[in-house]
Symmetry: C2
Subunit: 459 residues, 2 copies
């Protein structure tokens, strides 16, 4: 016997988790489509140099690549994609002349990272990406944020907040502090603010690190004065759009910061015009998010009360999507929804409901009866849009009802030999166990629909 | 620069192909669900021994496995799945106690085979599988065939035929001919009947093969008399259910054949009860289909006039799904729809339509106008269920209209500075270029919906 376990860090998704997952994906596809984002699909397998950029990439993600051993057909190395952004860049570089710009695409698919397995962290997970490529417009920036709002609200999530910042504001801030060369280091520390608090951030920014053996000494990133001004700015820079009016005049006068502030105002106005509730949007002038990659607006999304799950959707604007693959400069903006994290959160919050069947009606297969009648009645229900499952074997009715109760069917249609003679059926409510008896076959569709409507309205 | 090509044998799916593909998958999910099939998802990566069965498997497919190089986390070898059936077997063996039987699942996903790349044949392709596990009932057999019918008909395919046979009929036939030991060889040749014709099949069945050097001589598979009786049976055994009445009495009296014939009759009756048109079903008593695997009913589906594409959906009944992973005997029946083959056929047949946008309305971004108005109008349209895309940049209106025409938007909403003053818009039909002028903003939703309805009805 072979052990039927999955490989470490991977998992099966059973029906009870897949049913709400499919519902959520259907919602996302509908929302993305309603804005004109178009689906594309790229292979799970890419050429290694596409993913690693000829060795240019050297970060955590690249070390986690799963190599695929290629049997004939392609001379080079292959690997599984670790995100949907690199495949988008390759796709756009390859197809830009056919598809034209602006190009709005969404993609939903598995990505693979050989991370150390841990609770809630898997080596294969699903990303839902949407990007607008080929424009520098704030209309596109605002729209991506609007789509995040619309997708989560349409999925039934009520209370969440999208934090927004603009990279130019951060650049201007660092320039004003005289620390423009320290950007990456400053922001890496700043990203910890929510976790470790103001005082520890100041210590980290202003303390020289003891060098490891063989390394040269590392001087402090900022002076204490610089660090305090930074923290003052960042801490005041969190809240509704009005905080932009209160920015320190010295910083607001910096040309980069001023441009960033203007762009944030424009994006905010467009979100208001689009009907996105202002309480769902929060400025956070300390938000950095993957500094190396983004060059414009950045954003991340947390569910109120469930901040410990981190961001469920984040993204931002980039200057040049596909510079590894084409000379053509392709600016754009995009976001990704982390489906697995979102589903895990909703499950823990109890927001998923208990649906574990896809068809609300179970048609019993009566012992000694004619299964063709059950099959015919079920076919009639499906024609009216009501899902109906026929129990395959004519076992004891009690066992069939037990199956329906366990699976989560709402009602059972039962036709025994007596009912065949007079062309009637019984309809059993699998929750209350109450039964409507001797309903005429002709009244099947109307009776079942009324019963489902009644149960849904709680009567 | 890195060449943005995909690896050999793989491909990108652009929006023009993805939009009908997503529509087809949504149809399939709806049909599967309406019968109570529940979605599951298993990882793309499995442990090698799960896929190869500890070396038990040695056929073509196993040689085509893509190995995945595992970086920590799991001690054993890993590989990409080559179908969805082995993962189903593993899933059921692992989870049968939680999920219970009968277990009806569907799964849609990529599978990987390192085949030599060829036109229309890819190393990653999509399967849509549905199976009922844990029952021997013909109700389940007929239902799988009914689902094939329903899925294809719901996807808009009008004329297709599902060929059906039962493995017991073939067993009985071979037994009657005194050739039960030759089953595999006979059926391998018989599978070529449509391609090479009766005479060549008889030659292949009755000629001794010249041995290769070092091999022992191979005697003929059948005598000429056996071969002729076989071909007579198979050629007469093709058509509507009535052919079962005309089966050679000697063969029909064989206990295995008799049982198979009874089961075929039952399945046919259930299909009629379910409302499947009889012309969509054809008996084909020579149909073998993957003989090693199936043990009961088998079927395959061809689109009338497009038989050269081969079967677009096939499957059958198996005795024991998960014998590699569990002692528990799990009989079942299932089928797979080959999405890529079906889409390729529909594209070649011109059945896909030319949709290349997901939103029918383009809202122009007027040069010198206020994009917030465009954003607000688009948001209103989406609230009524009408997809609307805002052009991101305020470029020349003519260029924006060109974009809409190319993408396939049906109408454009245009609000210039003059229109803002009187709160009106113009609605341009992007096909006819006719324009409704000065429509009040208040009438946006009703005007757009009437225009879309008018265009759809061809007025």
């Amino acid at each position: 016997m072979i052990d039927p376990r999955v490989a470490s860090g991977l998992r099966d998704v059973p029906p009870s988790a897949m049913i709400p997952r499919e519902r959520m994906l259907a919602t996302f596809r509908k929302v993305f489509s309603s804005y004109g984002f178009m689906p594309i699909e790229t292979p799970h397998i890419e050429r290694m140099e596409v993913l690693t950029g000829k060795g240019a990439g050297s970060d955590e993600v690249l070390r986690q690549i799963f190599e695929v051993v290629n049997k004939g057909g392609d001379p080079g190395k292959l690997a599984l994609r670790f995100d949907l952004t690199v495949p988008l860049a390759r796709f756009v570089a390859k197809h830009v002349n056919e598809i034209g710009i602006p190009f709005k695409r969404y993609a939903i698919g598995s990505v693979f990272r050989g991370e150390r397995p841990a609770k809630g962290r898997f080596r294969e997970f699903t990303q839902c990406d949407f990007d607008t490529v080929g424009t520098e417009s704030e209309v596109a920036d605002a729209e991506i944020i609007q789509v995040i709002y619309d997708a989560l609200a349409s999925a039934g999530i009520r209370d969440f907040r999208i934090a927004i910042n603009h990279r130019l504001v951060l650049n201007g801030l660092l320039e004003t502090l005289g620390a423009e060369g320290q950007g990456a280091s400053v922001l890496r520390v700043l990203d910890k603010l929510d976790k470790i608090g103001r005082d520890k951030v100041i210590v980290e920014l202003t303390t020289s690190k003891m060098p490891e053996e063989g390394e040269s000494p590392v001087s402090p990133i900022l002076t204490v004065e610089q660090a305090k001004r930074l923290l003052d700015f960042v801490e005041a820079g969190r809240g509704p759009v009005e905080i932009l009016d209160q920015i320190d005049a010295g910083i607001a006068a910096n040309p980069q910061a001023a441009q960033g502030i203007t762009k944030l105002r424009t994006i905010h106005q467009l979100l208001v015009a689009a009907g996105v509730p202002t309480e769902a949007i929060e400025l956070n002038l300390g938000l950095a998010r993957g500094l190396d990659y983004y060059t414009g607006v950045v954003f991340e999304t947390t569910i109120t009360g469930w901040e410990k799950f981190g961001s469920v959707s984040s993204g931002g604007r980039y200057d040049n999507l596909a510079s590894l693959f084409t000379d053509r400069k392709l600016p754009g903006v995009g976001a990704s929804i982390g489906l697995d994290r979102l589903m895990a959160l909703m499950e823990e919050a109890g927001w998923l409901g208990g649906t574990s069947t896809t068809a609300p009606i179970l048609v019993a297969n009566f012992p000694g009866g004619d299964p063709a009648i059950a099959v015919a009645l079920a076919a009639r229900l499906r024609k009216t849009g009501v899902g109906a499952e026929v129990y395959p074997d004519p076992i004891q009715i009690g066992k069939q009802m037990g199956y329906g109760t366990t699976r989560g069917h709402k009602f059972a249609v039962i036709v025994g030999p007596d009912e065949v003679a007079s062309r009637v059926f019984n309809l059993r409510d699998l929750t209350t166990r109450q039964e409507q008896k001797a309903v005429a076959w002709d009244a099947l569709e109307s009776t079942v629909q009324a019963a489902l409507a009644g149960q849904a309205s709680g009567s």
